[in-house]
Symmetry: C2
DNA sequence: CTGAAAGCGCTTACAG
DNA sequence: CTGAAAGCGCTTACAG
């Protein structure tokens, strides 16, 4: 059997409560008593049973993080940042992969899994705001990402519109005029893709460049999606001199496909992405992109969630992280 | 307050034990009783409190996974596979990042964190076998990766030697004779790097090609490490016609640096890696590499750990996963 | 087939 | 400053 607080109390010749006081850094303990308890803990190799503590206190000191899949670099990097931020604040993170499926997202939101966490960070992809509100229990919930936007929910936002506009303006400033966009449908205005497309349009308008729907190519937000989309675009015969992948994976897939087809990047076609995943620095040519403030997002989300957990209620909060353009070789 | 089993028992007009029996699928319950309990559960929206269950049963149904950092694609992809395998078997995974530091690895091994898991999957990088055995508590432990090899510890192995030899043989078969190796020191024989270097040497010997220590360049196993190593190699004036990065990150960094310097890949220099991370398929040119059997590793490790947790002891097991060469453009 | 009781290892009022 | 008792929500022998 493991060593318990009772064993420590007996060894130190004090009551259970005193051991508890020492462990929880209660202020008013006679120094000699405290030392005796600490010695006993050391000697017996006592370690707190977190399960018991959780049951009694109603706090697990764990945060849930629901995302699509760690195979996706942006999510892996975000998860890493979330775990570091949580760790520093005394929390651990239980990651759950939804595989981008509504049933899994719903299960994560209301399943018994939630009894293991004090609150949830959630990157919704399949459920909408109403479904989230309906499925969510009473425990605190903070959304990440921006597919869902709703005034009723706490969330940390990416400045999608402005960041996408910054990328577009950068491409325009280099003299490009026919900017293909990969990863959205022509009419989109909501969700991550819609917001970034809107930013793209706004920047075009500001520069007096006409918007051409033929340059907007929908695709999966993965490398193969980008590669395949660029293929369709080239085959369609539409003329373009730059590609804006709505995330880095798409941009990197497109970059690859362009090079395979013998195009010169950036000489003939400039390429830019969105996310600034680690890989963007090391592609060849390296990828121009925009960093959405991933670490800041992770920290603000963790802070906000912990604030809710610790009962400091208040109005819904929706902070935005700062972004920054990263100009590299693919679009100088 | 949340709904408890007591509430369900009262609503169904049965005892606590009967509710427990229903929840745990105890076989011999009168169907009508069972139905009444199930109805009550539904009606009240009861959900088991996993913390309480853990405290009483001594089982948490969580596995710990200790790795360096999810920012590293291979670990992120492995973590994803581990989580999927664990999930299918009724376990959850609590990931902990060691940052490749001995103190963090030790903390993960013996910290109170362990009281939250039934067993640990551990990718050791800083601690050696003796330190691991000394630090590890009594809970089951299965090692992943192969930096540490020791007959006393359960672990799932990569066939580093044979897989590295396969890559080397492939490069030789294409007529390359001066194969640079990035990511090991000349004398290494142990650890991941040493084993892969040994495989490289064995393949050279089998082909009657002389081993030249000047072609072995140590570096960090990251993209920037590979880029920097290839720079040193080129500056040193040593002649080479192929590069074997001991992992894909190194190979991709080297590939990038070669292209930046205006070398043609694979015409002038062939490049190959090790790991088959997702990115290897989408680099430009795509990367020839060897897949170490990541999904199989994850599944066997999870299976072995659960086997230990469930008390099926037995002799130390050290299964090896099957590897397979992936020939792509960088070294056809 | 079902019940009443004990107890997992803590923290939390309540006393003193 | 410290103690004795209760109880968090389950599961597990032990009865019947």
């Amino acid at each position: 059997m493991a060593v318990t607080m009772n064993d420590v109390a007996r060894a130190a010749g004090v009551s259970l409560k005193t051991v508890s006081n020492v462990i929880n850094n209660y202020e008013f303990i006679r120094p000699t008593t405290k030392q005796r308890v600490l010695d006993a803990i050391d000697e017996l190799g006592y370690e707190a049973n977190l399960t018991a503590r959780s049951l009694r206190s109603g706090k697990t000191s764990m945060l849930g993080l629901v995302l699509a899949d760690l195979n996706i670099p942006y999510y892996a990097e975000l998860a890493s940042d979330v775990m570091k931020a949580a760790w520093q604040r005394g929390y651990r993170v239980l990651v759950e992969q939804s595989g981008n499926e509504a049933s899994h997202e719903r299960a994560a939101l209301q399943g018994q899994f939630r009894s293991l966490t004090d609150g949830l960070l959630f990157i919704p992809l399949a459920l909408d705001a109403d479904q989230i509100i309906e499925s969510a229990g009473k425990k605190p919930l903070v959304l990440l990402g921006e597919f869902v936007q709703d005034p009723r929910l706490d969330m940390v936002l990416i400045r999608n519109l402005d960041a996408a506009a910054a990328v577009t303006t950068h491409l325009l400033s280099a003299g490009r005029r026919r900017l293909a966009v990969l990863g959205a449908h022509d009419g989109d205005t909501t969700g991550t893709g819609g917001l970034r497309l809107t930013g793209y349009k706004a920047a075009l308008a500001a520069a007096g460049v006409e918007y051409d729907p033929a340059l907007v190519v929908p695709c999966d937000w993965r490398r193969d999606g980008g590669a395949e989309a660029i293929g369709r675009l080239l085959d369609s015969g539409v003329d373009f001199d730059a590609v804006f992948g709505l995330n880095d994976a798409v941009a990197l897939g497109a970059l690859h496909a362009l090079l395979v087809r013998g195009m010169k990047v950036p000489e003939e076609i400039a390429v830019a992405g969105f996310d600034d995943i680690d890989e963007a620095r090391f592609s060849s040519p390296s990828l121009t992109t925009v960093a959405p403030g991933r670490t800041e997002i992770a920290e603000r989300a963790v802070d906000l969630l912990i604030q809710r957990i610790e009962g400091k209620g208040g109005a819904v909060e929706q902070p935005e992280a700062a972004f920054s353009l990263r100009v590299r070789q693919s679009a100088p």
